[in-house]
């Protein structure tokens, strides 16, 4: 796996983490303030995908060592 993909996944993971926390807080403060306007599932899937890429990369690099 290319290092650039790993870097991208790391950045996406961080941004999505902050984004999802912000959306969760917004939903807790005012229900219906996020999900009618934004596909949260899509955000969660991208977040999860970036986490999986990071894990795969780390496992592979450990295996190489």
């Amino acid at each position: 796996m290319k290092k650039s993909v790993y870097i991208l996944a790391q950045e996406v993971f961080k941004v999505m983490l902050v984004g999802n926390v912000v959306f969760l807080i917004m939903e807790l403060i005012k229900p219906g303030s996020v999900w009618p306007f934004l596909n949260i599932i899509f955000w969660l899937i991208i977040w999860l995908a970036s986490a999986i890429i990071i894990v795969i990369f780390k496992v592979k690099s450990k295996a190489k060592m």
Binding site: S4, I7, L8, E11, V18, G19, S33, W35, L38
Partner: protein
């Protein structure tokens, strides 16, 4: 790959992603605050709308991909908005089949179960209007039909002392006159020469669907759980086992205070 190049690439990606997140949060805040005081919400059958929903009771409805069918009198739905608004312009696209009267109401008082009801479809008035045999005058929401051109304005008619039995009304109150009402029990009387109503004749589309527009003041309406409650009234379906109305779209255009009005700028 050189380390400098990687760092600059990382910075570019980081800048792009954080900007994207900020724009998304800004978009969400805009949608919730509606600072320009104007928003449009849609309901189309087959699509899950958060804004126009909760069609009830289910036994009076049939939901299909293209339309929602009203099979019984009194069906309720909610208009859910992220903030309170002052006014709503409701547009309905529907096919009334053989129904005579269709009305839409907005809940004004939850405790008294009081709705402000406005007409969207009256088959009798539509027929008189479209027949070409009656003279038509319109002023705002008021429509006046006369069999012979006796009056040159609605005001002239209202100022006259026209005999009660020659007048039929719909959604209109003529002070001190008990006129025949053009409701679901209306039978045409040959003496009827004048019809006055607070009613806008709906626009007929090429595929037999009608489009009606209604304005409701939301300031004094009940707002519960972020929702305004509406009702569709079809008196002809009360006891009937047949008949139905197909609704294929509801558009709610809401107007409220802008941020300038809110902060009194």
């Amino acid at each position: 790959m050189p380390a400098d190049f990687m760092t600059s690439q990382r910075l570019k990606i980081r800048l792009f992603l954080w900007s994207f997140l900020l724009v998304t949060i800004g978009f969400l805040l805009w949608q919730n605050i509606v600072p320009n005081g104007h928003a449009v919400y849609w309901f189309k059958p087959g699509q899950n709308s958060w804004f126009i929903n909760s069609f009830e009771p289910k036994d009076r409805l049939k939901q299909a991909q293209q339309e929602i069918t009203v099979k019984g009198d009194l069906v309720y739905f909610n208009l859910k908005t992220p903030r309170a608004f002052d006014r709503v312009k409701l547009t309905l696209e529907y096919e009334p089949e053989d129904e005579l009267i269709v009305e839409v109401g907005l809940l004004r008082n939850k405790d008294l179960w009081r709705y402000e009801i406005k007409p969207i479809y009256n088959k009798f008035i539509n027929q008189f209007y479209q027949s070409g045999d009656w003279g038509v005058m319109e002023s705002g929401n008021t429509i006046f039909l006369q069999r012979q051109e006796t009056y040159s304005s609605i005001k002239q008619f209202l100022d006259s002392n026209q005999a009660t039995e020659t007048i039929a009304v719909y959604n209109y109150n003529l002070p001190n006159k008990q006129c025949q009402k053009i409701d679901e029990t209306f039978l045409f009387n040959k003496q009827t020469n004048y019809i006055i109503a607070n009613y806008q004749v709906p626009k007929l589309l090429a595929d037999n669907y009608y489009v009606s527009q209604l304005d409701f003041d939301l300031k004094s309406a009940e707002r519960d759980n972020q929702s305004y409650k509406f009702m569709i009234r079809v008196p002809g379906l009360k006891d009937s086992q047949t008949g139905e109305i197909k609704i294929r779209a509801i558009k709610a255009e809401v107007f409220g205070k802008t941020w300038r009005q809110f902060f009194k700028l």
